[in-house]
Subunit: 415 residues, 2 copies
Amino acid sequence: MDKITTSIITIGDELLIGQTIDTNSAWMAQQLNAMGIWVHRRVAIGDIRDDILDALAKESAVSDVVLITGGLGPTADDITKPTLCEYFNTRLVQHQETLENVLHIFESRGLPILQRNLDQSLVPETATVIENKRGTAPGMWFEKEGKIYVSMPGVPHEMKGIMEDYVLPRLAKDFKTPAVIHQTLVTSGMGESFIAERLVAFEAKLPAHIKLAYLPSYSLLKLRLTGFGKDKLSVAAEVSILFHQLKDLLADITVTDQDISIGEVLGNLLKEKGKTMGTAESCTGGLIASWITAVPGSSAYFKGSAVTYANEMKVKMLGVKPETLQAHGAVSEATVQEMLTGALALLQTDYAIAVSGIMGPDGGTPEKPVGTVWIAVGNAKRTVTVKYQLRYDRERNTQMTAVYAMNELRKLILE
Amino acid sequence: MDKITTSIITIGDELLIGQTIDTNSAWMAQQLNAMGIWVHRRVAIGDIRDDILDALAKESAVSDVVLITGGLGPTADDITKPTLCEYFNTRLVQHQETLENVLHIFESRGLPILQRNLDQSLVPETATVIENKRGTAPGMWFEKEGKIYVSMPGVPHEMKGIMEDYVLPRLAKDFKTPAVIHQTLVTSGMGESFIAERLVAFEAKLPAHIKLAYLPSYSLLKLRLTGFGKDKLSVAAEVSILFHQLKDLLADITVTDQDISIGEVLGNLLKEKGKTMGTAESCTGGLIASWITAVPGSSAYFKGSAVTYANEMKVKMLGVKPETLQAHGAVSEATVQEMLTGALALLQTDYAIAVSGIMGPDGGTPEKPVGTVWIAVGNAKRTVTVKYQLRYDRERNTQMTAVYAMNELRKLILE
């Protein structure tokens, strides 16, 4: 088969009332895409028999592979298994290895076992059972009229285990997949339409099997070049040549030529230079530190943070002068300057970031409306301060402040 | 009409290759659900003409309202608008108010304007144009064969503005929607199947129009009771009676009877008691502080945090004894005890949380494998320390540590 198309069906009322954000599909799509399997439809439906049957029929009509997550829990709202039996015209039978796995899990956790847990070892008779090493509900692989269906639990780390251990390797074995190559450039400081204008000639000459996508991500913009083809090496070479041209065209605004977070970009830079950093955070409340430490190995360059949410902590932990707070307020150039100086002294790092702002929805004044934020970055010799006026909600203002601040430090280190 | 059904279509390759997680649909579903409009299908497709046309046809066949986001940007990969013209058999015409809005946005930001920006004021002739106060791409409302279609930009805060300003009020006006009442209980410390066992009799007597859903969320479990009906007051009364029974049955494991985050639960408790808190964080790197300060008004009870990622910072900022680190290691009961004592002294708060652990993927040893975490919570008089052995990846281990730590402090304050 030349091009495998896949649909992902996620089952669960919680997805439809907005109580849960679906992160499973994104992860699955990433994995499939990396091996050249195109996910062309993702569908979320509720724990409703008719809707599940309808979705199975619709998706198998347009896809070779239908991956299904969710609805396999031990409680009464989970009806995926009986509905699968109906769709595949089969019945539930006990699966011995799954029963042993369920018993083992409960024994090892010292928990008593209930009938509803034992029932997790009932599987549709025609399914190939896939072991779930991280939980009680197994995965199930079905084939019907040339189409493949795989049902997996919705708990993210259980689904990931089943995908990695069995589904992805088997799909790679059963299908001859096309090569797909992505290369991503992350830029900052220029809007989508201005970049597009600069890339008119570049985009015009892209061959049909290579696409350019614009993906805004907070204050940054990702440009993703994707090539498809039969031969991986030749696609990679083609994409690589074009990607170098893209980099040259956007050299002045490039943050990184890898698809990594700003925390990773900054971390790589610090590691490369053998430098350390820390943060002094007011309005971001520790978010910058948490993003930086989300990167494995960050202890090599990140020492710590003074989260000085209250003004008295800015004085006590960072040595900000009470007179400065009095004269200029907590959200001011003078305050973030002193926070930065204090952070460098306290944390004994080569570089530091200091931020103070009003994230909303309350706390704004006519002079300093919601969204006012001051950022200082630098080292003992040189500091840069910048002011932003953000226009979003509290969460987005906070996240944008974190991205801006990390990017400012990145630029200062490179200068 | 008695029950309006809605489909949400999100358009964009970035959703299908897993580069972007779809948060728009969840927000939209929440808003619609709150007004009694049931979202029964959510579909994500790529920027592909055939797939867009197919999705419009399929979703309008099963839904009264089809909400569409994405693909309206100024760049070449955005093909939603011409495809909508094709589907509705119309053509693009210039819309004067939108043109003025685009010009105004560019002028007020001091940016030069490009043809591709001006083109954002081109709209399908049969559409009712919806003003976008936060960006250049307007919303568009279509009606065809008794079905409603609304196309909106995919940028979250622009989509939200259009929904709030126009789409939701108009849907409320045009349709007689059923009443939907949700009540959510958040529990901790008991697995899904054990709770289900305790609720067998309760679930058995639930009427058909009231459903109970189990929604795992990190170490917590949410139980959501949802009632539907014609009369809002009577549905609310019915749900309320059942919800009280549910609360009584699960009183020993209840965290909160509202659908709020653990950060909000803890914040509300501190406000109610007039107490303050702070954190000393090693392995969570500021995540606990950032979750607590994500709640508006948290400055009333949150003073700050010492993020002591490096051991020398535990000594310097929190007064942890070098001998303690030497004898027991950074991830130990003795260290988190001293971190807690140090945090209370430094931050001068009523309560504090201290955490230290090994989040992975590296850093584990046979004695302290990845996932080992020590938590201390308390005040000057009383502290509680707990050890967890987590079994997930770095991100999930960190988030679970944050939830566990906040929940421990909640329990201690209540005791």
